[in-house]
Amino acid sequence: MFQILIVDDEYINRCMLREMLVAAGYEDVIEAGDGQSALEMAQEHTPDMVLLDVMMPGLSGLEVAPELKKFSPDCYLPILFITALDDQASLVKCLDAGGDDFISKPFDSVVLIAKIKAHERSRTMSLELAEKNESLFWYRQDVERNHRIVEHIFANAMAESETLDKHFSYYIQPETRFNGDVLLCEKSPVGGAYLFVGDFTGHGLASAIGAIPVAKAFTAMAKKGLAVEEIAAELNKILLEFLPADMFCVACIVEIAPSGTRFTVWNGGLPRLVVRDTLGNIRHKIESRHMPLGILGTHEFERNVEHVDAQEGDRLLVYTDGLMESTHPELGGLGEEGVEKWFSEHCLTSARAFVDLASEYRQGQPATDDITIVLYRCEPFRVINEPDINSVLLVPFKTEMVLTNQHLKHTNVADFIVQKLSNLEGLEAIRSEVFTVITELLNNAIEHGLLKLDSRLKDSSEGFEEYYRLRAERLEQLTMGHVKISLNCEPIQRLLTISVFDSGEGYIAEPVVDLSDDTHGRGLLLLEEFCESVAIEEGGRKTVVTLSF
């Protein structure tokens, strides 16, 4: 309820004022007989308005007014002076002391109530404003806090990638505090790397939030070594679920082979990727062939990727449209052609160099969009991945296993060995090759050594099926014989020696004559290509190969 404090040393005045106020509906009225008790009451009750006598014993109204105002620094507290004075100088003094209006003695009820109503309106408005200011203040605190939380999560999700720092030159320029651009990089289990360059619609908090699930899923899939198209399809699915319909992510996913010279690319809406040779010629342009991520449903999503071969020393450039949208006051937009001209004509070895050129091109104007640039110089990852002799314990590893006919009936003996070997430092990167080599050796030992199958049977299509039918049949009936496998890993020389011995009668494979036609004989060729050395010993019963890694 609207509360009014009357301060007057004369009882009769307080009574008259109270009666007029109550009659007008202001029932919450409190009274003080002098300045000191007025201040005490104001502090205790926080009234909405004060009617203050100017001349009182002790503290005068002029002294009390500024003190009263201090109780309400953020909000308008109307003070109406009760006075019989009407000379100009006295009235000015009252206003200077903080008074807002005057009530002249003798009191006129109509004028008094009209004035009170006017100041009541101001007081009410001021209270509402103070309340809104306060909630705005809390709201801002809340937004600020939310920003800090998201910033923290974002920073963790975008954890710095060692692979990125080691092999790529890159630059990310956010146009606002949160970046709509996303750059992710992860080592692939086969020894190469995966790269994700994305640009969410819009900037700021909203786009940063979309980046978080993408970053987590991308990293997990890259670590598993999934194919680029699988990663693209999965990220599309995630964004379709997460993002509102008007938001999507222009993106490009690149897998770089361990050689550093073969790229598998899925490009959905990013400016075309460019590969430049050491002389400055543009070797490849990899255009965007797809809709951005987060638009198409799973069934209509296009997974096809492009494979591009480069040579050692070439450079791959990936960038978001912020760079090509750089605008010169007279020459206009830079465009993809402009970026490629720079790339071709200048020997730009760092992403930063592009940013500097772009800022020069804009002639001092700020960038209008986030800019992300990644530059990669093609070189084998294996060389760079050389383990640090001092940090990794490089212990030689040697093992031997004897597989009886019971073990050989399982088709996944090779899986078992590859899985064990993959735990050794450096071997994870060549697990596909190790699988091929072990399978070849094992199949030779089983099919020719123990089961005495003749490869020539495979030359006709009927024979091909017959061969594998016989293989299954004879293996099932096998009651004797064994295969001995020895593995020897020398991590310092980076050599893996595999020896496979079978208890059969010995068998020498015929070399393959016509590569494009014979359905058999390729096993030995693969061994020779994958291994540093292949030796057939003990009349064909034992094969020893050495792989380097």
Binding site: V190, E230, F464, L515, S516, T519, E529
Partner: protein, 100 residues
């Protein structure tokens, strides 16, 4: 079964292999092209998921061409991972298949 098949663009029979393409899938692979619609003009062997392969897989691929020799088909091997691409390259498979 680790092998999936589907008709793509009405004329292409897509055979998608699993993580392993070795003799353990001989029967599955044979069945994968035994019952194709007549409209098929192209077979695409999609190796996007294939990490492990051996020479018996090469035999299976060539045998498929022998079995289907009567039909005028285009043969494509797609999305090879580097180790698999190398196996195909060593064996000069580009002479019999379009490797994309």
């Amino acid at each position: 079964m680790t092998i999936n098949t589907a008709v793509k663009n009405g004329e292409c029979w897509e055979i998608q292999l699993g993580e392993k393409f070795d003799f353990s899938v001989v029967t599955d692979f044979r069945e994968a092209y035994s019952d194709m619609p007549a409209s098929i003009k192209e077979i695409e062997v999609n190796l996007t998921d294939t990490l492990y392969m051996d020479s018996s897989a090469l035999g299976m691929l060539l045998n498929m061409q022998k079995v289907l020799a009567g039909k005028q088909l285009r043969y494509v091997i797609s999305n090879c991972r580097p180790a698999v691409a190398r196996i195909l390259e060593i064996s000069r498979f580009n002479k019999k298949f379009d490797i994309v």
